[in-house]
Symmetry: C3
């Protein structure tokens, strides 16, 4: 359904000017049974017949992963984190890669103190995808906006890095 | 608690006029161990003692189902889909049927391109229930509103169809 | 990261005056294999190697609990409930206690009829934590705000009570 697109749901986005703009990266290392020391996420639910160390066979349909991923200002996993991305992703399609995201950024740097809460569908194979910023706290008190995510790197089924371009359209 | 009501939380809704209005249906076919070809959802978490092909005994308490359900303009499962309803439902009460919903509509039709994100409690046995539309993208950029859902059809523990009457009160 | 703080993300909160203010408590009794009659929540997902009656070893990382908890006006578990807190919490860090919350209050009292929907990170060890109120229905139609939660009581791994101070900044 989405494969022909290079951008999911871009319409209307450029009509408005954001009141705040942030670009951040987060890094997810999925537990596979052998990388306990480095893993930042784990499969905690799987459909019948699948297990918790190998992503499920039908496009991972039915897996829920819980994560606590470092957030960095650039694309380097080893850069000093400015916070943690925490929450879950759910693989929710049997015939392509899509996920449903419910997660938050907890930012704790000299520039930003506060949390940002995200909800949305992630049609992973599209270059850029838009999700909703449904609220925030601290420096992001009552903010709302749109986050454009793209998969900046992907290494097998263990590591991915998402670039998150957050545009707030309601600031307080 | 809710059984005597025919509508959950209707107050205040009619004071305001929606800026956009959509009525859609989605269709959920739960995997039961035998319907892999047709199923659009699967139980992926269950409480102790329950399994992933039979809904849990106490009003399904503790089951999490992940879904990728077709959305149609009318109540016919076989109508051309205009998008997919994706996310999860959680059965969360031990002495009646209620669920907690976290899901999105990904719409991809000539009329609408974009996503709509929903969160809320669903006291299933009440005729109509209101949940929150917490954000959107594309044609629903930054929208908020209320969705009134009702169970338009229900066939045993395998199929249900929800009618979703979405009223947006914040449009951009 | 958060241990030195007594309040997570307080900035900006006092610049604005809430349009509605509610203080409520909810009570969570986690199923541990022996308290089926009293339990109001259950572990339904766990990482590899853990089970559904004992919280996971690394700061409970990877556990998802589903709950249907009584809400009271004061801190007494046995006070008459004014509604139910329903949804899930996810333990999402391997080296400290934090959780991700997705839940709702379904209020049904003489004073309030309606639901309130919450999303956010909960760095449990900090005294007070702010999460987002992303929407509401009924008496909380289209409301948004911030909820400050604190752990009012904690008894081993079976019982906790959260005080939830809800400040709405968008009322309709």
């Amino acid at each position: 359904m989405f494969l022909a697109l290079s951008s999911a749901f871009p319409r209307n986005k450029n009509k408005y000017k954001p009141c705040k703009h942030l670009v951040l990266f987060f890094h997810d290392i999925l537990y596979n049974g052998k990388n306990a020391a480095n893993a930042t996420s784990a499969i905690v639910a799987a459909p019948q017949g699948a297990n918790l160390t190998i992503l499920a066979p039908q496009f991972h349909f039915g897996n829920i992963a819980v994560f606590d991923d470092p957030i960095t200002l650039d694309n380097n996993l080893h850069s000093k984190p400015v916070g943690r991305a925490q929450g879950m992703y759910i693989y929710d399609t049997k015939n392509t890669f899509t996920s449903w995201l419910g997660f938050s950024f907890a930012l704790n740097s000299t520039d930003y103190q506060g949390s940002i809460n995200f909800i949305g569908v992630d049609p992973i194979l599209i270059k850029t995808r838009d999700i909703s910023v449904v609220g925030g706290t601290g420096d992001f008190f009552m903010h709302r906006g749109i986050a454009t995510i793209n998969t900046d790197a992907f290494e097998g089924e263990v590591y991915f890095r998402l670039k998150v371009d957050i545009k707030f359209y309601e600031c307080w």
